[in-house]
Amino acid sequence: MSSYSITEPSKRQKWAAGSFVIFYAVVTLMPLLWIIATGFKSPSDAIAYPPKVVFQPTLEGYVNLFTTRTRATPEMLVQAGEPKTWYDRIVRQYDMVIAGPSRYGERFLNSVIIGFGSTFFAIVLGTAAAYAFSRFRVPLKDDLLFFILSTRMMPPIAVAIPIFLMFRQLGLNDTHAGMILLYTAINLSLSVWLIHGFINEIPIEYEEAALIDGYTRFQAFYKVVLPQATTGIASTAIFCLIFAWNEYALAALLTSGTAQTAPPFIPTIIGTGGQDWPAVAAGATIFLLPVMIFTILLRKHLLRGITFGAVRK
């Protein structure tokens, strides 16, 4: 006799579901994998036709990404002697010597400072505002919330020119502070709205219990509300970081040197010394890492938060 259960799928169903997930994963991961692979190809392999799936891996792309090189005359090469390091050796194949570090490191650091900095402020300010909206009698609350949301009703790039002029006036052009301010402002509406929703879900009795137990309102917020809102705050932080990290247009317009982030910088790698696709791919690969790590770290948090909710109800 065969039995049928709603909870346990049949072998065939499992198989179908599994293959579908794998197929979907391959489709979405393909471009990513191709970028990562290209980063380890030599320039000629990178543009080979038909495309090479199997190739001799090399760190050339990464060396080119992080250095600037100059073509050397034979005398100079003799004078420089044998290559001393593995990256010297890679560069010598093309009769070049390393002239110094490239700007990628700085640009990447700028991205980290601006991305994480603006995420931090968007989350701190957003949580504070959301808590106030959720728990206190704020005059014109609904109108204020709508106003906050309305700042997202057109693409930020639409106001790029006014922002550019304002920034020039305020001396914020090409500064870290300016870019953090800008991304925080753009992300704030999202963070206020999302976190407001999450805090509304937390019954107010928990805080009241803490207040009666002798805690101040801030302690109640910090020790009782925050731990329960981590799920929501973590996912909001991911959204904020992804936006700030990937933002291209405003960064291209408002930064050029000191505060330039990686997105507008990466395309400029192409221009220096032919079409150096492996270096571009290497830059993109490294650029992907922080968001991936951040998401994976917080994902554990997300899962824990979700199981919490499941048990509570």
Binding site: P203, A209, I212, G214
Partner: protein, 365 residues
């Protein structure tokens, strides 16, 4: 331990008046019930006493001190919420110790105190468990533990058994009462269940539409309701009202209804117009000699007793009698009212008229 005094307490939410000028006193060590139908302002009253809501006007005294505007954390009281509000991110032991930590009590002392409380409530073996997997009863006990651990001046409980199923409720209510007898702390308990209120309470205040209808000992309120609302809300089935147009003179000890004279406790207050005779189902006796008669509509068998519903010229009447008597539907029976238990109401405003039987119970400010 403390006496709690409420004086002209009022709460408005915008233009909505949730609590109207309440006044009552809770004596030290009393188990005090706030009883009333849904939406009558019980929770609001309790929250004002606890400091979770600011009164619009009026005073609250705890232990002789006016605390109306004091924050909850400064009132030294404990609150048990309907859904317990146990901190979901802490285990059982942490939940119970949390109120002590806010007072800066040393760690080893906290541990000892939590162990004591867990012992009292019989939850010593689940101290390390997370809140998530606990049964309703255990959650209830943990919530109580969190309340008693600090030895506050008073306990406030908002329908603490509301989230439990019927069978377990009974058990927990006994446990709660036993705990109160052991600790003797002033307890204010909100419920909309009249049976629970009468079983557990030393005293009851009955509220309706934001105002206090009556307060006193359960039996006093049950026997001598001050209003038709209280008479109707307490008891199951509730008090019978025989409505008629008539008059009652001061110092009279009988009243005429449908041309029949009924003996009643001596009236200290007269009235004329729409009146009602209030009598509990168990105080009506069947008697063939009685002049006043009703026709049996239905009987409801309850084991040792039965409830007989009759129709009379003054409305339907329910009578509680022995289950042994055989009563047929459609039968006409004479009804005798026990004169010592009758309350006459002014049906116009729903207030009981003062008599020498109920004057001792009434406290009409």
């Amino acid at each position: 331990m403390a006496q709690i005094k409420i004086k002209n307490l009022r709460k408005d939410f915008g233009t909505f008046n949730a609590v109207k000028s309440s006044t009552f006193t809770i004596e030290d060590g009393e188990f005090f019930m706030l009883l009333g139908p849904s939406g009558c302002g019980k929770t609001t009253t309790l929250r004002m006493m606890a400091g979770l809501e600011l009164p619009t006007s009026g005073e609250i005294y705890i232990d002789g001190e006016e605390v109306g505007q004091k924050p909850a954390s400064k009132r030294d009281i404990a609150f048990v919420f309907q859904l317990f509000a146990l901190y979901p991110h802490m285990n059982v032991g942490k939940n119970i110790s949390y109120p002590l930590l806010s007072q800066g009590m040393p760690k080893d002392q906290v541990k000892k105190r939590v162990a004591e409380v867990a012992e009292i409530l019989g939850i010593s073996d689940i101290l390390k468990r997370p809140i998530g997997g606990l049964s309703g009863g255990d959650r209830q006990r943990v919530a109580l533990g969190r309340a008693i651990v600090r030895e506050p001046k008073a306990f406030f409980m908002d329908e603490p058994l509301g989230a439990l199923d019927a069978e377990f409720r009974e058990h927990m209510s006994e446990e709660l009462r036993a705990l109160h007898n052991r600790m003797g702390a002033t307890t204010v308990y909100v419920t909309h269940d009249q049976l629970e209120a009468m079983q557990m309470g030393d005293k009851i205040v009955v509220m309706n539409h934001g105002s206090v209808e009556q307060f006193g000992k359960p039996q006093e309120i049950y026997d001598w309701p001050a209003t038709m609302f209280v008479a109707n809300f307490l008891g199951s089935p509730s008090m019978n009202f025989l409505r008629f147009e008539g008059m009652l003179g001061t110092n009279k000890s009988s009243i005429e209804m449908n041309g029949i004279d009924f003996k009643i406790p001596t009236a200290l207050e007269g009235a004329k117009g729409k009146l009602a005779i209030g009598i509990r189902p168990e105080h009506i006796k069947f008697s063939d000699k009685a002049q006043y008669r009703g026709k049996v509509l239905a009987t409801e068998y309850l084991g040792t007793t039965q409830i007989v519903t009759l129709t009379t010229p003054n409305g339907d009447v329910k009578v509680r009698t022995d289950a042994t008597g055989k009563i047929k539907t459609g039968e006409k029976i004479g009804l005798n009212f026990d004169p010592r238990t009758v309350t006459i109401f002014n049906a116009e405003n729903g207030k009981a008229l003062l008599s020498n039987a109920n004057q001792g119970v009434f406290n009409r400010g």
